[in-house]
Amino acid sequence: QSVLEDPLLLFYKMLGYLEHPVVVTADINLNVVALTAVGLLSRLWQLSYPRAVVFDEVYYGQYISFYMKRIFFLDGSGPPFGHMLLALGGYLGGFDGNFLWNRIGAEYSSNVPVWSLRLLPALTGALSVPMAYQILMELGSSHWAATGAALLILIENALITQSRLMLLESVLIFFNLLAVLSYLKFANCQKQRPFSLSWWFWLMLTGVACSCAVGVKYVGVFTYLLVLAVAGVHAWHLIGDRTLSNVCVLGHVLARAAALLVVPAAMYLLFFYVHLSLVYRSGPHDQIMSSAFQASLEGGLARITQGQPLEVAYGSQVTLKNVFGKPVPCWLHSHQSTYPMIYENGRGSSHQQQVTCYPFKDVNNWWIVKDPGRHQLVVNNPPRPVRHGDVVQLVHGMTTRFLNTHDVAAPLSPHSQEVSCYIDYNISMPSQNLWRLEIVNRESDTEVWKTILSEVRLVHVNTSAVLKLSGAHLPDWGFRQLEVVGEKLSRGHHESAVWNVEEHRYGRGQEQKEREVELHSPAQMDISRNLSFVARFLELQWRMLTAKSDGSEHKYSSSPLDWVTLDTSIAYWLHPRTSAQIHLLGNVVIWASASLATVVYALLFFWYLLRRRRKICDLPEDSWLRWVLAGAVCAGGWAVNYLPFFLMEKTLFLYHYLPALTFQILLLPVVLQHISDRLCRTQLLRSLFGALLVAWYSCACHVFNALRPLTYGDKSLSPSELKALRWKDSWDILIRKY
């Protein structure tokens, strides 16, 4: 037993003897093995039960299906790595993606490999147990403390619930812990043998684990920053170490920069690369993306735009899509109806033909680009391309009226000008239908207007108003389409005033009848275009970050303040007939004592710090450093994963606290060991304290056991039993009324 207790020491001792020859030293810590085994048992137990959609599986499941069918999707909640890991489970289980993820509690059909879909989160959850042990060992804690930490993670109900389902928190926690563990291993290698193989291994693994954590969920970035900060402080000490040569220090700094900055960035790009090459087919989320992006997907828009002529010429027939596309993506549109003479609020209009933005494909979305100097509406041979700065007229294809704006207030935005298709009523209101074309993303001042790629502003020549989507919905007379206005004050470049050509063809028909036939027929010609990966990545990333989740309230949403005291819970699933249910609830004993430990740590830390400042050292230097490092990693990990939530405006749930909680639990044994070693001065006190700990741990086990039916959902409890479990009024345990 004693040999097993300190495998590291043994390992280093052995290293002294076995130097150069290649020797495989297998040293197996039975403790780690045992912890892994119980971890696996707790997380994998009846994994495919319940065979029904549980809580957020309904979202993640959709994305898995999209991966299986290779359909493009956009999820603003996180980068694609986490979804891809879940999809990997589906791939290995032979999932074909055919399941309708629409309702929590819906029963899975037989083609859904529930077990393999849930396997990955469960495995990562199980591995967190031995990793907690390893982290505490690296922090210099005793074998007992390390085992304690692992056992606490093992019986934390909320962590178990969260890792047994297709959810990403356990994966995130795993990578967080892995990042911390490998950094600590690396830091310990630093003392022994810098630039050795294991030094490089752990350093690189730190970077990789950090990028994986960020890749699973954006909140992983907080742990990454923590690791960076600790590494920064260590590096700063290294710079101050005057026994090292300058070259050596430079090497150290560069190695860290490469592993902790370059590698994660590259990995992050890699996730997106894999993601984009996996989902190459068009799907329901296409509309949010730009035309260029959509054209790069298989099917969908690409099927239409494939083979369009690239350069827009005089006589071209085009559809113009708004680049901003909010509240909905839409195309410039006009139709026979006119603006009402008098609006409801008494203002007057020009009574000319309406121009709107319409969110559906329609023959009325077609416009013809016309040279003001000529009469023809067809493309010459060879075509004369339109360039930046040219003045053009836009003719509505179906009604052959000209796009026009004038000094009349727009229907819903009275500060802007009305945009209409000009009808001559002979009332001394001349047509003002000249527009200057400005290509926003041009590279030179003579650039040609290109289909899909060019983003253009249309500036009215007479009034210098800019054609803009105001975002307001017209009332019934405008068929609830979106309002288009001429914005007089171009307050900077806003994307709502930028348009791009989506569909495009060269007009051939001389007569209106021929043109109408042309407009109705689908466009067909040649050439195809593809965006570079970087452009696609940047656009996707930008859309993901700006995608607004509907900030609607949710029955189980909570505020960060509720989390520390566990004043909230989430019902995940309820058996359709019995009252067996899965409910996200934490182990209250662990929860409370972890918070208490954090407070104790902070108090002790400041006490020691102040006394050290007055040169009273309670702790010897090396154990002080260990104490600080443990605090930086565990208490720091808790703080960085918890406090930022106070600033977030999205809907928050209890499970957002779990990464922070994990770090807090790691702090608990550190504090307990410190109390037992330093503050219990006599052997008697120490034994008493030990006895207390045993009692406390069995208490935690008891709570785990009591809440187990809600964690695994395998046992139906009677209403009175459920009521008895409702220890807090704010816990919303579902009780079936018979």
Partner: protein, 668 residues
């Protein structure tokens, strides 16, 4: 431009009418005071930008702001002089601020920013001054500067909440100072304690007192009812003369048969309201609409009745008065239409997840869906319900949902009043908490509302809550162009102060690009040079005495200024509210001072590295002169932005400003 806001608020002080603004009151009070002293009578309406002042005496207010704005230059000079002990550095920093068109424009008008910047700079200056008194603790100048710091902090916070950042800076400086003293083993702990007490007194107690005092003055001056009433709670309104609640006397406890109005606790939601119009076809059940309405109206009156008895008229003088208690089941009858407040399993008109609330029944006879349980938040069952003070929730008995207002505006058919729903989510939010405001019951003795008047701390707390909510409410709309924090230091786009067309007299708030881009370059250079020196020191390199001194100036003095810049700039990235270009100006003050120190140090270092002393002197003098003259010349170029320009817009090649439109985004 924004003069319409702050000038108007100055007028409010002179007229003593109550108003609401998202900023603390000190700045507007000072404007009001300046106007008052200079004989402005507060009658100008400040309706829209561009209105002519005509005979109104506005120069006092503008002069006051301009005076504070011009004090920034000497303050910057003194601060940099104190930090670097170098005359050219101080001169450069002062010149940058003098010749910056943005600072100039901003301090010419009746705005809060010159006042805010004045207090920020004054606090910074006093902090720096008192740092240099550190070797003579507890001497008179030491006390003076310490308390000046405190006073100016209160001033900065009292003008805008942005003042918090300078408080953070001073706080950081104080903590590191104390830490330093604490580590000095030659000082006994008692002395350190004295130091601590002095700072607590001057930097916490003093500013807090002053800050609270400004509110006391604010509430004392503004004692007439005005446009800001509706933002505040009923209890608050009872303080204002002219408001219906002022000096009113109503029964204290809610009783059955009383006629009441029910007000939502959330700001700007209003009173529970109903009227003789039905929900239109297709939107829930076709029953009478229930909304919330901000104005006082007969349709806001409800009668509170027992759920089961309708027959016995509770107003019958013979029957005894029965009080409504927490947890009672009640029915609310709309007084004008005699319909009951009702809810059922139909989705609400706008918030689809909530239930619809309607008026139902004839002459008070409805069904069991009219029953509501009345609960007081955080009280025990069986207690009476107090008018105005009790926060109540109405829980629908059948569906178990809570009466609330979503705050969404109903379309035309609902007269653009706000939607009322019954939310199945029992989370306590202000949207679903109400209080009883008017209360009419002839059988009960009236008590004067003065008893209910909130105490000063309560008023203070409430006005802060309202301000914070107001600030959070300022959200940019989707399709609007908004200024982003990253635009600011690169001077991406200015702000039009007045005038749009080519014939107007136009003033455009834009930093002098030469100054701003020099500042930007300086920050980058500072980071490079600063970290190079820091690494060298950490590596234990032996620096010559002169370089040692310069690097100390750069690291210490420059570090403080950099911290100031960081604190006044980066928090804006986290803010969700709508942002404007002028928010950057406090940060810009710090970066200008940093530029002064940096270039002086760099020139000195350059001069030191040269062999011959005459050449070194020459480089130093030429460098400083070059920077000064360069900024002066650029000011000559750009001064029309601040002092106003007429003529064609700069897009037009004929305009005299055409050559100066260096960025396409500048639209002057």
């Amino acid at each position: 431009w924004d003069e319409t806001h702050f000038g108007k608020m100055g007028s409010y002080y002179i007229n003593r009418t109550f108003f609401f603004d998202v900023h603390p009151p000190l700045g507007k009070m000072l404007i009001g005071l300046a106007g008052y002293l200079s004989g402005y009578d507060g009658t100008f309406l400040f309706q829209k930008p561009g209105d002519k002042y005509e005979h109104h005496n506005y120069m006092g207010m503008r002069g006051f702001c301009a005076f504070l704005g011009s004090l920034l230059v000497p303050f910057a000079y003194l601060t940099v002089l104190e930090l670097s002990k170098s005359f050219p550095a101080a001169l450069l920093a002062a010149a940058l601020l003098t010749f910056d068109t943005g600072c100039l424009t901003l301090s010419q008008y009746i705005l809060l920013d010159p006042i805010l910047m004045f207090f920020i700079m004054a606090a910074m200056l006093s902090m720096v001054k008192y740092n240099s008194c550190a070797n003579r603790p507890f001497s008179a100048p030491w006390w003076f500067w310490l308390s000046m710091t405190g006073i100016n902090l209160a001033g900065a916070l009292g003008v805008k909440f942005v003042g918090l950042f300078i408080i953070l800076q001073v706080g950081w400086n104080t903590i590191s100072d104390l830490w330093h003293l604490f580590g000095d083993l030659s000082l006994p702990v008692v002395t350190v304690g004295k130091h601590l007490t002095a700072r607590v007194l001057c930097l916490i107690v003093l500013p807090l007192t002053l800050y609270t005092a400004t509110y006391a003055v604010h509430f004392m001056v503004l004692n007439k009812s005005g446009p800001g009433d509706g933002f505040f709670s009923s209890a608050f309104q009872s303080r204002l003369s002219g408001n219906t609640l002022h000096n009113a006397s109503i029964p204290e406890h809610l009783a059955y048969g009383s006629v009441i109005t029910v007000k939502n606790l959330r700001m700007a939601i209003g009173y529970l309201h109903s009227h003789r119009h039905l929900y239109p076809e297709g939107i829930g059940a076709r029953q009478q609409q229930v909304t919330t309405y901000l104005h006082k109206d007969y349709n806001n009156l409800w009668i509170i009745k027992k759920h089961n008895t309708n027959a016995a008229d509770p107003l019958d003088p013979s029957s005894p008065v029965e009080f409504v208690r927490h947890g009672d089941i009640i029915r609310l009858e709309h007084k004008e239409t005699s319909r009951n407040l009702h809810s059922h399993y139909h989705e609400a008109p706008l918030t689809r997840k909530h239930y619809q609330v309607t008026g139902y029944g004839i002459n008070g006879t409805g069904d069991s869906n009219d029953f509501w349980r009345i609960e007081v938040v955080n009280r025990k069952f069986g207690n009476r319900i107090k008018v105005l003070r009790s926060r109540i929730r109405l829980i629908h008995l059948v569906t178990g949902c809570v009466l609330g207002s979503s705050g969404k505006v109903l379309p035309k058919w609902g007269w653009e009043q706000l939607e009322v729903t019954c939310t199945p989510y029992l989370k306590e939010t202000l949207n679903s908490v109400w209080n009883v405001e008017d209360h009419i019951n002839p059988k009960l003795p009236n008590i004067s509302l003065d008893v209910l008047q909130p105490s000063f701390p309560e008023v203070l707390l409430e006005s802060h809550m309202v301000m914070i909510r107001g600030n959070n409410g300022l959200k940019p709309k989707d399709n609007e162009f908004t200024s982003k924090p990253w635009h600011w230091p690169i001077n991406y786009q200015g702000l039009r102060f007045s005038g749009i067309n080519d014939t107007d007299f136009r003033v455009y708030l834009l930093g002098n690009p030469v100054v701003w881009w020099l500042n930007l370059l300086s920050i980058a250079l500072y980071l490079v040079v600063g970290s190079a020196i820091a690494v060298a020191v950490q590596r234990g390199a032996h620096l010559p005495a002169e370089v040692e001194g310069l690097s100390q100036v750069l690291l210490r003095g420059g570090g403080q200024l950099l911290l100031g810049w960081v604190l006044h700039y980066f928090p804006f990235f986290l803010m969700g509210r709508i942002l404007y270009f002028h928010h950057y100006f406090p940060a810009m003050l710090f970066s200008s001072m940093l530029t002064g120190i940096l270039w002086d140090t760099l020139l000195r270092l350059g001069a030191w590295s040269l062999a011959s002393s005459s050449l070194a002197r020459g480089l130093y003098v030429v460098g400083n002169l070059g920077l000064l003259l360069g900024t002066a010349y650029s000011f000559y170029l750009f001064h029309p932005l601040a002092y106003g320009m007429v003529g064609p817009l700069a897009q037009d090649p004929r305009s005299p400003m055409a050559g100066l439109r260096w960025l396409e985004s500048w639209d002057f």
